[in-house]
Symmetry: none
Subunit: 417 residues, 2 copies
């Protein structure tokens, strides 16, 4: 089956918003064997939207539409959908209940324009919105599927995951495509490629397998793709390549799939009943924020202290002021004292610290922007490692947080540096 992905919204056409919905929908449809072969974006204009619907419907089996379902005057997608399917709008009771529930939670009462969010085209299957007020619409007509969802990314994603994908998973036959991504960090793309060597030692060119290197500022992802007649066969092919890859670069791989490093580390800590505490300077709370993005992190995250001032390093962590005076706040000695200090103060099993120069100001010849020391302390040792990160302020913070979590992972697993 072939899909066209239609996005609606003037904010996209003027370039105010980068359209990330397209890629999400394409990737997800792809995972159930539906190939997105066209993407179209039009504004909040009846004629343009109608014409886009007509062209897509004439040439594709699956059409997804996002955007223009909000409550205000410029949201016209519902009325164009009704016109396109020559139907009218009716109130969907479940969607109306949902609107009321949302407003009750906000300790407020929906007005008419909010209640109108529960209007849906007569004859569609309604996709309920568990994260917002506008429901989605699902049409199956002439052996074609026409799916309308809100443009708000997390609302759309929930509908894709809860409704659209499970539906197509049942429908699709023929060739299946499977992907598996192995996430690495702490190694550059070219070194990783060198460790892996010739990919055609891993699989033959006509095996239906491919391997892609996807670098980002936080690490390189390795994506294995397999095409096969069945999901089982594709999975088996992927498993085979994964095993070979792990034989070569296992220690750099912290996760498979979409798992984040904070989740990997969280599971390791939980399994071993270890508790950690953080003393962050240059990362400014980013490590704690990532760790606490994981549900259940209160089991292993004891506390974090963001010691931005020298006084707070001294007061909260017991870093000797002489140490800061003689070595500077950005130094091996202070990083170690911070890691040891937070472990001692909190009573946690492991202390992690960061101190560095995130920039763009504050650098010097000797201690340039991007210099970061990351400290680690447990019952057996207290150490600090030096890093020199490139990028702007946010990228440096992100890279330092990633390196700190990776250091934690390797220490827990006793992977030699």
């Amino acid at each position: 089956m072939k899909a066209e992905i239609i996005s609606i919204g003037d904010e996209l056409l003027i370039g105010q918003v980068i359209n990330s919905n397209q890629a999400y929908i394409a990737e997800k449809l792809n995972s159930v064997g539906i190939f997105g072969d066209k993407m179209t974006t039009v504004g909040d204009d009846e004629g343009e939207i109608f014409s886009a619907f007509q062209k897509a419907y004439a040439s594709h089996d699956v059409i997804t539409v996002t955007g223009g379902l909000g409550p205000t005057h410029d949201d016209i997608t519902r009325s164009v959908v009704c016109k396109f399917f020559q139907t009218d709008s009716i109130i969907n009771e479940e969607a109306l209940e949902n609107v009321k529930r949302v407003f009750t939670r906000l300790k407020s009462v929906p007005r008419k324009i909010n209640e109108d969010q529960a209007l849906v085209p007569r004859g569609c299957v309604v996709i309920q919105n568990r994260l917002g007020t506008a429901p989605g619409y699902f049409f199956e007509r002439d052996k074609k599927y026409f799916i309308v969802m809100p443009g708000v990314p997390y609302e759309m994603k929930a509908m894709m995951d809860d409704f659209v994908l499970p539906f197509f998973m049942k429908q699709t036959t023929g060739l299946v495509i499977r992907h598996r991504t192995l996430k690495t960090t702490g190694i550059a793309e070219s070194f990783l490629a060198e460790h892996i060597g010739d990919v055609h030692q891993l699989f033959s060119p006509d095996s239906g397998l491919t391997l892609a290197f996807l670098p980002s500022s936080l690490g390189v992802r390795l994506r294995i793709t397999a095409k096969a007649k069945s999901a089982d066969e594709a999975e088996k092919k992927i498993q085979d390549v994964e095993t070979k890859l792990r034989g070569k670069v296992e220690k750099f791989i912290y996760a498979a799939g979409e798992e984040e490093l904070e989740s990997t580390v969280g599971s390791l800590l939980k399994d071993r009943r270890l508790r950690i505490a953080l003393a962050e300077s240059c990362t400014g709370g980013l490590i704690a924020n990532r760790i606490t993005d994981i549900s259940g992190s209160s089991e292993y995250f004891e506390r974090g202290i963001i010691t931005y001032s020298n006084e707070s390093k001294i007061d909260e962590l017991g870093v000797p002021s002489e140490l800061i005076g003689s070595h500077g706040a950005v130094s091996r000695e202070v990083a170690e004292a911070m890691a040891l200090g937070i472990r001692t103060v909190s009573g946690a099993d492991i202390g992690i610290s960061t101190t560095g120069i995130a920039g763009p100001t504050g650098g010097s010849q000797e201690k340039p922007v991007g210099l970061v020391w990351i400290g680690y302390s447990d019952n057996d040792e207290t150490i600090a490692l030096q890093f020199n990160f490139g990028g702007g302020r946010r990228i440096i913070k992100e890279r330092a947080a990633q390196a700190a979590l990776e250091l934690l992972r390797r220490k827990i697993l006793k992977i030699p540096g």
Copy 2:
């Protein structure tokens, strides 16, 4: 003039890459009075590309094309462009020199496939590529402009900035378009719309002005767009609408343009020489992370403590354990004690605290997931406000952090609740 923005590449269609080129091109064209009214993405397929060219050419004055100009077998854009304009390819000497220069810099020698990058459609104006090897093509035919550029974002951007925009800047005489975005938070889209009232009280339907509501999980942006004969006139129209809008909803507007709330708050603190400290529970470091994303934040951010455990609330902030026992950690009383505690411990002027249930587990009938108390303490008062946020764990954290920063903004500006 109306533009269609065409993107070519299988990597876009499978959702591997988020298409940021579209938004960049749209925004830049917009700034010289060319309105992108359609965006289309097709794969590396001759028929699809040709058909997209035909449709775009039939209905638009300006067509931009990016992608498919690389050296490998799947890059077919040049040959389709030649077919479309019924011409052939010739070597462009300047582009060939550039290819050789790039390879010299890489201490390497170009192969045939690299030298072929210097092939261009006969009859086009060549846009040289100062950051890569593939040149762009510029056609002016039938009063239409057809522009082909590489898909590599920074190469495309350099061509837009160096060649395309200066060209159109000279050409466009007619209407110019200007936008201004006002960012609000802490008020739902429908209430904001109600406060603003009938938009045609702000401007008449034929004034060339429009107002769009752009909601997200962190607030609603109001985008004013003006079309006018000159930039000055457009700016004046926008200023007029902005003044009227501010008259109605000033207190909800925290920034204009792309400024983030942490930046607004940072400037306010800096101007008033106030220092803050944070005691975060459910936001887990996110507020500190946002504050420290701003360069120079060390001037006003004293420290932050992430008190995830009850012990840390007691140890670090001096929250009485009886208070946690009788009211629970998620309560007005504890939020207030945390805000007061962090202010006292740190010696900062203002203390901010968060305590809540980010979920997905840990909620109860009485204290459901999404319940968050935000505390504020200064020399005059210590208070806490209750919020009930929807969404998953991360969205709840984000909304709580946004609400905390907004509370801080309103307190500094003495805006009544």
